[in-house]
């Protein structure tokens, strides 16, 4: 059951900009089993997208992996060449981008774009004509799967003729064309309305069970992860500051950033009007990150050591760990008490 699909170990990734090296990912380790739904939350610039792009080999210039390993489905991703990536992308791992308005090509029909990845990854060796017929049949099947009515008519339409929700469905159809093992969803519903968001999330979960794929859900919306995911990684300034199951993160958060994040969002279910507790300060400047814990400048319970040294991970259960000196201290005192 728990077969490892994705294993990222100590990944470091930097962007070498004219202004200096930006350490976008700083020692990231994630392990994912088959069939898992992992949520990555964090604010913009925290490195959540960069992590998943690295898995697909989509790191944009001037970014480069400077250390660590990525094992995905038997591939050593960190050593792969562009040619090998082309074989893997779309077939074993695919991605849905945030904005369906810009991620479809406006000058090709929907059908053309869905068939593209089917044709690219076909290994049956059929003659071209038959292959095209097969791809078209598959495209219709996919559009039906993602809940688009009149699929045959849609195949001939261009992206601008469809609404936002429909376009995102088309994106999902393209992503699923070759039944990938891993689907990366990079803020798939941020650009959509809530009622459409509910449709898309429902669809993704349904398809996950049908096809048996794993999903990495990148989002800044804690509501979405609580609905969808089993495990959550909270990222801050290129670090995973806390990792745990959904219940552990929501009911027993250990890192000050996670706690702050949970307190700062209003809940629709609260009857009384309570004042929100914001996280003060601004996100980190990644060009000049602080020496110690990146969250220290905004942390309410910042200690001396936080500014000087990066905290190591403290384990709370098999799945739950966080990087904070406070919990280190608690653990230490506990042990001291036991002795």
């Amino acid at each position: 059951m728990s077969e490892t699909l994705l294993d990222i170990k100590n990944l470091r990734l930097s962007f070498f900009t004219p202004a200096g090296e930006v350490k976008a990912l700083n020692d990231i380790s994630i392990k994912m089993n088959k069939g898992d739904v992992l949520g990555i939350v964090g604010e913009s610039g925290s490195g959540k997208s960069v992590t998943s792009y690295a898995v697909m080999g989509l790191t944009a210039y001037p970014g480069r992996i400077v250390g660590g390993t990525i094992d995905f489905n038997g591939h050593k991703v960190h050593e792969m060449t562009e040619k090998e990536f082309r074989k893997m992308r779309g077939k074993e791992v695919s991605i849905i981008f945030q904005d369906p308005m810009t991620s479809l090509n406006p000058v090709y029909t929907i059908g053309n774009q869905i068939c593209e990845s089917i044709l690219l990854h076909d290994e049956s060796g059929l003659p071209k004509k038959e292959l095209k017929k097969k791809a078209k049949a598959r495209a219709i099947e996919l559009l039906t799967l993602v809940g688009i009515n009149e699929p045959e008519k849609r195949l001939k339409q261009y992206p601008h003729e469809l609404s936002g929700g429909m376009r995102q469905r088309v994106m999902i159809a393209i992503a699923l064309a070759c039944e990938p093992k891993l689907l990366i969803a990079d803020e798939p519903t941020t650009a959509l309305d809530v009622t459409i968001q509910a449709q898309i999330l429902e669809l993704m979960l349904e398809l996950k069970d049908k096809i048996g794929m794993s999903i990495i859900m990148i989002t800044h919306d804690l509501g979405v992860v609580s609905n969808m995911c089993e495990k959550i990684a909270v990222m801050y300034a290129g670090k995973i500051v806390e990792f745990g199951s959904t219940d552990e993160i929501f009911y027993n958060p250990k890192h000050e950033y996670t706690k702050g994040l949970l307190k700062s969002i209003p809940k629709l279910t609260d009857e009384e009007k309570e004042k929100l507790v914001p996280i003060e300060g601004t996100p980190v400047d990644m060009l000049n990150p602080p020496k110690g814990c990146p969250f220290a400048p905004r942390c309410k319970s910042c200690m001396k050591i936080c500014i000087e040294k990066m905290p190591p991970y403290t384990d709370f259960s098999d799945t739950h760990y966080s990087a904070c000196w406070l919990t280190q201290k608690e653990e230490f005192l506990k042990e001291e008490g036991n002795n």
């Binding site: 604010e43 913009s44 609404s163 929700g165 429909m166 309305d193 809530v194 009622t195 459409i196 968001q197 509910a198 449709q199 999330l201 429902e202 800044h220 919306d221 804690l222 509501g223 979405v224 992860v225 609580s226 609905n227 959904t246 219940d247 929501f250 009911y251 702050g260 994040l261 949970l262 700062s264 969002i265 209003p266 809940k267 629709l268 279910t269 609260d270 009857e271 009007k273 004042k275 929100l276 507790v277 914001p278 996280i279 003060e280 601004t282 996100p283």
Partner: protein, 324 residues
């Protein structure tokens, strides 16, 4: 309670090109909307994109010329008057802090522009003092006045946008999705600032957003819009917990709640399809094409906007039956 703003049967149509010659087509962005906002109150408008909430806000400020209807500000009909004296009283904070600040002006000039136009400062020194005190009000400081917008983060830029709105000492501010472009951890800062400023300066807000949880948090009363019409209006708790209109119900059930236990046990009403085009809205009730309870009556007759309980209005033929 004194009404500061009252909108009566407001309509805002935009002409669109049609395939046929001599046939005029309109996007009915706002179609017969009426509501009022009390002094010192926050009135929230929610709805999906394209439902006309932003247009409503802009038309109230007369940034659009209303097709018909009345806008009454503090007892005076401002639908057709010269707006200049009212610009000092009514201001707006825009959605995108990256697009709404002129990149070639310093922050001091952006905030000071309104002071110059309305001649609020006697001399340069006073102008500078005003700018500094405005920046301090929104949590920035005097040294920020000489910098340019690109040097600021999203949250700080939105603060500049708010300082600009406050420059003329307004009574009423339209907040048009002021936090949806910001990071989650920054959103709470800005929401709190809106609340603090309201208390301090006695402001009245029209708060427009698509995120019902934020709107519920900040608003006293909420109007829910769908395709150019307000379908339900009530206090924020009435909307969140005792909603009557099937659209409001499905909207609330569609919002992901950041609490795993609640979201697991909750039953979601997933609406089928997309919002219809506002050029050809459905006959009768506009929500009927997506409504799970629609009948023939809904297609024939447009439901009236009735007062279900004091202060709680709804436009649905079957709200009484659905309540059971």
């Amino acid at each position: 309670m004194e009404k500061l703003i009252e909108v009566k049967n407001l309509k805002q149509y935009f002409p669109v090109s049609s395939n046929k010659m001599f046939e005029k087509k309109y996007v009915k962005a706002v179609d017969d909307v009426s509501f009022y906002i009390n002094k010192g109150e926050t009135f929230g408008l929610v709805g999906e994109s394209g439902c006309g909430k932003t247009t409503t806000g802009r038309t109230i400020l007369r940034l659009n010329k209303p097709t018909s209807g009345q806008i009454i500000y503090d007892g005076v009909d401002i639908t057709k008057v010269n707006m200049k004296p009212y610009r000092k009283k009514m201001q707006i904070v825009f959605q995108d802090p990256y697009a709404s600040l002129d990149p070639r002006m310093t922050v001091g000039d952006i905030v000071g522009e309104a002071i110059d136009i309305h001649k609020l400062a006697k001399n340069k020194k006073e102008r500078k003092e005003m700018i500094v005190s405005l920046l301090e009000k929104v949590g920035l400081n005097s040294e920020h006045a000489n910098r340019y917008p690109h040097e600021f983060s999203g949250g700080q830029r939105q603060r500049i946008g708010i300082a600009r709105a406050l420059a003329v000492n307004p009574e009423f501010i339209v907040c048009d999705e002021p936090i949806s472009a910001l990071d989650v951890s920054i959103q709470a800062q800005v929401v709190n600032m809106f609340e603090d400023l309201q208390k301090e300066l006695g402001l009245t807000y029209l708060f427009i957003a698509h995120d019902l949880s934020i709107v519920k948090h900040i608003s006293d009363r909420i109007g829910v819009m769908y395709l150019g019409k307000i379908v339900e209006l009530g206090t924020s708790n009435e909307i969140a917990f005792d909603s009557l209109h099937p659209y409001t119900k499905s909207l609330i059930s569609a919002i992901p709640i950041p609490d795993p236990e609640i979201s697991r046990s909750r039953k979601r009403i997933v609406l089928e399809g997309d919002v219809p085009s506002p050029v050809n809205p459905p006959s009768g009730c506009r929500f009927r094409t997506r409504c799970p309870h629609a009948t023939e009556l809904c297609a024939e007759k447009e439901p009236e906007f009735v007062e279900a309980t004091p202060g709680h209005f709804v436009a649905c033929h079957y709200y009484k039956e659905l309540k059971k």
